[in-house]
């Protein structure tokens, strides 16, 4: 057990659960009568509540974005590289709010929560929520915390979609949206990968139509496969090559079907670990939220028209080897923003790690992130 934490860590943090007893009308037509959101906050909210930054998580993320829960935690929060004193999202200046989204499996109301109407787990009865629904629930969270306008809403991947959605749904409630390694809509290929993941889960005999909780089992194999295929799309050919190459566990070919190559056992390990900690119904729901996201849809596919409502400033960042949400997707977004005359800055960061690059601090990424947020902080006098 380490006896000290890194000086640029937010330190030991504790999540809190906020209960919302107000109905939330969802895009699918259903209404959640009440719900919980699990939240962590870092830093201090200033007197005029102008220094708040909202962190939106990606597919498998959650509220624990920075710091440690206990001294003996093996790893800090998922975006600890970017959140902390002196880090790009500087907790000496900003009040940082990070939550587990609705439908999640880390404490916020989701498929594995108890449905008050039945006293059973929601399971497949939990409504499919969309990015817009998340943003609506996040606005209720902002109200609860006394934040009328975010200094910035920040997110990578699916989190970037939430930042973008914020600028459209609540144009006057954020000053800046940071949309990182994201896309204005999924491509057919993106949806296809999600469908493979969902099919892997739903065809697992232990899935039981999503009511596996009742049988005290989990669709382990399906969730593992879903994660394995997903994980491949987060990395790049080059980064996998560098990490594993054709390295084998044994010297010689075994002429069998066990994991012989290192990359195979890595994927199996990642899949297995994930299947033990993540809820299968949540995985289905999150991939659906990704598939449905398309702010241009209501505007006959015209993204620039969708963006004409936006008032905030945007920072859009992409990564050169990201083939899940390629730089071209970010550029599509930036072009629509420029056509809509939004204030926007864009950079494509050279990084070898594929989609996962948004979680890995590289010098240029850190420089840009720091410079941009320093200006945001100066703007709100934080």
């Amino acid at each position: 057990m380490p006896d000290s934490l890194p000086p640029d860590s937010v330190g030991i943090v504790a999540p809190q659960t906020l209960h919302f007893n107000e109905p939330l009308a969802l895009a699918c037509g259903q209404t959640l009568k009440a719900f919980d959101l699990v939240v962590e906050t870092y830093g201090q909210l200033n007197a005029d509540a102008s220094n708040a930054v909202l962190i939106c998580h990606a597919l498998s993320g959650h509220h624990h974005a920075a710091g440690y829960h206990r001294m003996d935690d093996r790893k800090p929060g998922w975006w600890d590289s970017c959140i902390g004193p002196g880090k790009p999202i500087d907790t000496n200046r900003f009040f940082v709010v990070s939550l587990n989204n609705l439908g999640g499996c880390n404490g916020s109301t989701g498929p594995s929560s108890i449905n008050p109407d039945t006293d059973q787990c929601y399971g497949p009865d939990f409504p499919v929520v969309t990015v817009k629904d998340w943003v609506t629930s996040q606005a209720m969270l902002a109200d609860r915390l006394g934040i009328s306008c975010w200094a910035a809403v920040v997110g990578g991947s699916l989190g970037g979609m939430q930042a973008l959605q914020w600028s459209l749904t609540y144009p006057d409630r954020l000053r800046h949206a940071l949309v990182i390694a994201s896309t204005p809509r999924l491509t057919a290929q993106n949806i296809a990968f999600n469908e493979v993941a969902r099919k892997a889960i739903t065809s697992d005999p232990e899935f039981h139509g999503g009511r596996y909780y009742d049988f005290d089992v989990i669709p382990r194999q399906g969730l593992m496969l879903a994660r394995m295929v997903g994980h491949i799309t987060y990395l790049s050919d080059a980064s996998m090559g560098e990490k594993f190459g054709r390295e084998m566990r044994e010297q010689a070919y075994q002429f069998g079907y066990d994991a012989e190559f290192q990359v195979e056992s890595y994927l199996r390990y990642q899949g297995e670990r994930f299947s033990e900690t993540f809820d299968a119904n949540t995985y289905l729901l999150m991939t659906k939220a990704l598939d449905y996201f398309d702010p241009a849809y209501e505007f006959n596919g015209n993204l620039a028209r969708a963006l004409s409502e936006a008032r905030c400033e945007f920072l859009v960042l992409s990564f050169s080897t990201d083939w899940r949400f390629t730089p071209a997707r970010s550029e599509e977004l930036v072009n629509a923003m420029m056509a809509a005359r939004c204030r926007v800055s864009y950079a494509e960061i050279d990084a070898p790690w594929g989609h996962d690059a948004f979680l890995i601090p590289t010098p240029r990424y850190t420089d840009i992130f720091t410079a941009y947020l320093d200006r945001v902080a100066r703007e709100v006098r934080a």
């Binding site: 400033e313 920072l315 550029e331 930036v334 072009n335 420029m338 056509a339 005359r341 204030r343 926007v344 800055s345 864009y346 950079a347 494509e348 240029r364 420089d367 840009i368 410079a371 941009y372 320093d374 200006r375 703007e379």
Partner: protein, 200 residues
Amino acid sequence: MRTDLQIIEQWIQPGSHVLDLGCGEGALLDYLQREKQATGYGLEINPDHITTCMSRGVSVIEQNLDTQGLHNFEDQTFDVVLMTQALQAVRRPDHVLDEMLRLGREGIVTFPNFAHWRLRWYLMSRGRMPESETLPYKWYNTPNIHLCTFKDFEALCHRKNFRILNRTVVDGEQRDRWLSRLWPNMLGQVAIYRIARQED
């Protein structure tokens, strides 16, 4: 701010929507935003310059004119399209000028004059490719692959049927001197042109 930028600034109407090709550290856009309520974007490829733009609040887009072009912008989107000290460094200056006037009502271009007397003298006396304060490179490592003179530029504008709305020159210290105005192709070091398409 550099003298050429000060001159350009005077040619831009308040509230203009501006595109700056090769905006550097964004000094001009920053000024135009603050003093003239201008809006718009700078395109840049230098990572350090991009970061500087972001930290001073200039909207900057990482985009390479040579490899990506300007296809992502619709016709007549901007009031003014600017390009300061970059024309000579692009692969096809003629295409870039066409694009500038496709995107914008007006174009403003500045470039070093290769017919300045010092450069002429350098080449004549030494028989080597000229180097100067404005052109501090060797022939083999210069980014300036399409140097031209005022006369060359005006001939191109004539061929393309562009109107020259304003022209001015500054000397080595970026000053606007009466002498270089008198004999620009010989005495002017940096040319500043404001151009537009012929009205139909």
